[in-house]
Symmetry: C2
Subunit: 214 residues, 2 copies
Amino acid sequence: MTQLDDVHTSSDAPKLGRRRDPAKDQQILDAAVEVLAETGFDGMTIDMVASRAGAGKATVYRRWTSKNELVLDAVACMKKGDLDSLAIPDTGTLRGDLVAMIRPPSIHDAERKLKVMAGLASMLSSAPELADAANEAIVEPRARINRMLLTRAIERGEIASDTDIQLISLISPSMVAYRSLILRKPVDREFLITIIDGVILPAVGLGQTAPARP
Amino acid sequence: MTQLDDVHTSSDAPKLGRRRDPAKDQQILDAAVEVLAETGFDGMTIDMVASRAGAGKATVYRRWTSKNELVLDAVACMKKGDLDSLAIPDTGTLRGDLVAMIRPPSIHDAERKLKVMAGLASMLSSAPELADAANEAIVEPRARINRMLLTRAIERGEIASDTDIQLISLISPSMVAYRSLILRKPVDREFLITIIDGVILPAVGLGQTAPARP
DNA sequence: CATATACGAAACTCAACAGTTCCGGATAGC
DNA sequence: GCTATCCGGAACTGTTGAGTTTCGTATATG
């Protein structure tokens, strides 16, 4: 947590007038994420964020000590409103689960996160805190779901118990990120299905059995 | 080509004195690539590049009109000194070829290119010229080799002729880039072998036959 | 040796941006 | 209504870096 409590603590406040609007915090963080995705860390200015949030620059600095702290909180805040809210499907087969994870909100969410990641890429090596926050908010949630689906497939005896879950769970994040960030091609349903059937399932030994399309 | 010819063309030159040193061009471009890999596009200053090349800022601007043009040429120049010089192995099997491509100069080259790519990532969406140059110099050479190895494997009947070469050739670049740029873990020989045996070979139908190690 | 040119270094201009301060207006508690 | 506090806006400071100019020096050509 990097937010300011301002100068006063609750103990010494005498009479009190207008209180700080907590909703504004979230508007500013959301605006920061937007700008971060559009322009990257270096292109982002506090004025952009403030005006997009309908706030003044001073209001931003009343709540965060620096641009770095704001970005850190903004990235961490992407963790919420996450895939956690979307229930993870259980269709009975690994392929069914993987395909069921392809949904418009999920895809859109992933694309925006990748844009933010691209905007932070050059800083990751020099700012470990930021790198950790980005990993926790952007990378890890998706990988965790994949690991869960694979573990479940092992438990139901669908795939071998010595499957390299760490490796397999990174196939789709890697190929999606590469296609989006570096090749700058759209990540659509067709591409994701191609990865599932052409790479992931063969890698876990489910390749030869061409599955029926749902 | 974005370099300057300076003001004069060869036709109107009268007497001529000291001539511009062509070797300096390359020193500046090399320095630019170094700084780009270390600090990214936004962190890179012309003074850094100049002093690392043992040159003055004015010398840089005598040869390139702007920072953008310099970076564009520096990225394009990475294409040379490339894998092209390394002969592409032909070991008789796809796995042998893929493993033979894992070599210190190749790995080191790839890591530096990925650092440059990370430093450019935030610009790619807003600077199409730069994105194209980066693709041509960093992404495409590696993918081209993979496509060649796969095509050869089809020709010798080792893998199916309807193999999705485009998709398979992107597996290792994607997973290497993700591991290096986003996870920031080392890309060592062990990891590359794991990708080959755990993902690529299964995807082309060579999974079950555990190959003898050379 | 004379001239034209390139060189590195340093001083310069100019614009953008991080961060601060001040202001008049709004609003919650008393 | 009084007061403490927050608000958005705008003016301000200080720094950084792109791009330019100047200058004393080095070196090819003739």
